[in-house]
């Protein structure tokens, strides 16, 4: 299993349209170690989902140009023939989606959809595929898996549907699971259950998980590492505990300060003013500069992702400057 790392190397995703090109992801590099769970965080429009879709080759080549590289172990994920891509999806790389209400086909039973992955990849006959699917449903914590196998999606609650979705994605034990905001559409207690389930899959089966989310609380609870994206760029990478305790990029710290908190009753929520610049109208230099409280002259120049240590890097001029220390009050997540 050693060496089964996801290595994303200078990945770019550019959407082409009649009005021009829009870079949704630019020059993104990060790594998901084997059996690790990595949180990919950022606001809407920061390129998280575009990154996840690129890893599974789900962008339409007619409208999207993908540059750079993404490898999982020995497998190049970006330059695959359509047939090879079909073989890998579901068996090497799986994906779960934000909204379990719409990510399951309403006309097929839960069982049929979980079995689909198994039948496509393992060519089992109906009976053994069924037994295996019920096993998988049990593994994702579906109560009464044999009964639920025959149910239609509309007969299940949101949490159970998300479990069914996860079951379909992991039925053939992919080595990498891309989870695109898997908990956003669920209520809080169910969110915790689903996150715990993903963590368990990661620990027990050595599956690598890329958790795409804007919920730093979720990241703090289950992820080993954090990758922060802003406007299509990776701005900070590091181990969860250290990044959340002492964020090095002002955007990460502002994201954390902007979380609503239970004990913050009556306080003004510290929102980040402005919005993510559109890919076609990005500012010069640091992309976060117009919204950053700490912006200074050097920020107008080009920014590089600078290594702060063996497993930590950041794209901010202030981070490598020992005189500065970005400390935001109450930034710790746990």
């Amino acid at each position: 299993m050693a060496g089964d790392d996801l290595v994303v190397d200078h990945l770019s995703v550019v959407f082409r349209s009649r009005t021009g090109t829009h870079a949704a992801v630019r020059d993104a590099s990060f790594r998901v170690g084997a059996g690790r769970m990595v949180g990919l965080v950022g606001e809407s429009g920061s390129g998280k989902t575009a990154t996840g879709l690129a890893l599974l080759g789900l962008h339409d080549p007619a409208t999207t140009t993908i540059g750079g590289g993404a490898r999982f172990g020995d497998t190049d994920l970006l330059h695959l023939s359509p047939a090879a891509a079909d073989r890998l999806r579901g068996s090497l790389v799986g994906m779960i989606f934000q909204d379990p209400m719409t990510a399951l086909n309403p006309l097929l039973t839960i069982g049929t959809q979980v079995t689909e992955t198994i039948r496509v990849h393992e060519g089992l006959d109906r009976r053994s595929a069924r037994d295996k699917a019920i096993d998988v449903l049990a593994r994702v914590g579906m109560p009464d898996p044999a009964g639920r196998y025959r149910r239609y999606p509309h007969e299940l609650s949101g949490g159970l549907r998300q479990r069914a979705m996860i079951a379909a994605a992991i039925a053939c034990r992919p080595r990498l699971l891309v989870a695109d905001e898997p908990t956003t559409a669920l209520d809080l207690t169910i969110q915790a259950q689903i996150l715990r389930l993903l963590r368990t899959l990661c620990d027990d089966e050595g599956m690598s998980v890329l958790l795409i989310t804007h919920d730093l609380g979720a990241v703090g609870a289950v992820c080993d590492d954090v990758v922060t994206m802003y406007a299509g760029e990776v701005v900070e990478i590091g181990p969860t505990a250290r990044v959340l305790d002492r964020p090095s990029h002002p955007y990460t710290s502002r994201l954390m300060a902007a979380r609503p908190r239970v004990d913050g009753w009556g306080e003004q929520l510290d929102v980040i003013p402005g919005r993510v610049p559109s890919p076609s109208a990005s500012p010069e230099g640091c992309l976060f500069r117009p919204r950053c409280r700490e912006a200074r002259e050097e920020c107008a120049g080009p920014q590089e992702l600078v290594a702060l240590g063996p497993d930590r890097s950041v794209r901010c001029v202030r981070a490598s400057d020992p005189r500065d220390s970005v400390v935001v009050a109450g930034a710790g997540v746990r």
Binding site: D86, F97, Q98, E116, V120
Partner: protein, 296 residues
Amino acid sequence: MTTTVDTVTAPATPRAEGLRRALGRWRHEEKAALVAVGVLVVLVLVAVFAPLIAPHDPNAQSIADRLATPSATHPLGTDDLGRDVLSRLLYGARASLVASVLAMAVAVLVGLPLGLAAGFAGGIVDIVLRRVLDTVLAFPAIVLAIGVTGVVGPGLVTSMCAIGIVFAPSVARLIRGQTLSTRERLYVPAAVTYGSHPLRVAVRHVLPNAVAPVVIQMSLLMSTALLAEASLSFLGLGVQPPTASWGSMLGQAYGYMSQAPTQVFAPGLAIVLTAYCFIAVGDALRRELDPRQQTF
């Protein structure tokens, strides 16, 4: 949660239960459609069992009795060659219904795959297919059917296939539009992430979710095809004598309008009634299946 109870009491096939519930609702809300379904069922039975229930041989001529008014032996009278109109009407149901089903089937078999391909593949495939379909759509159905029969000779099968080809673009356009919107549902890329081949995704995940309006269209096409068959046979391009169809009976009766004006009523009413039944069923299906009119 009631789910554990459900597992015990719920029927094994939720689909069958849904159908039963829909029929129960139709009994109150769609009485006309239920009657129409009943008429159509009777019609199919009549067509199938015509040899058993017809009082006479539909092709047996009796020139002496020609153009007779209704009587005990000939409940609907006789035509210009002295053949029993009732028997010809019963046998004619066969030709007319088979012709309608044929044209509808050709339209769906040609239109459905083309529309699905255009909508699912998009790009150049879509552009080319749409131009071809628009070209076919520009043909008046009857004109193309006349052209085809002119080339291969008159006959019900060829002319109804031609009618079906002309109907195909309307099915294709419908399914293409449905495919375009269904393709954007999240379960389509989700099925791709299972590793399914695009063809499998299109047939298993897109088509069943896109097909409902086509079912409605099918029943409306049946009525249009029935009228097209009547027109073609009326013009002498459909069934060939002595075989009876409602259209050919109407055509012959038309020639004797001045001597026996009542002759046109039997085939004419049969055509109108059947076409109306198809439309009534189609309308009820639309109320049932159209998501925009769904009420909970």
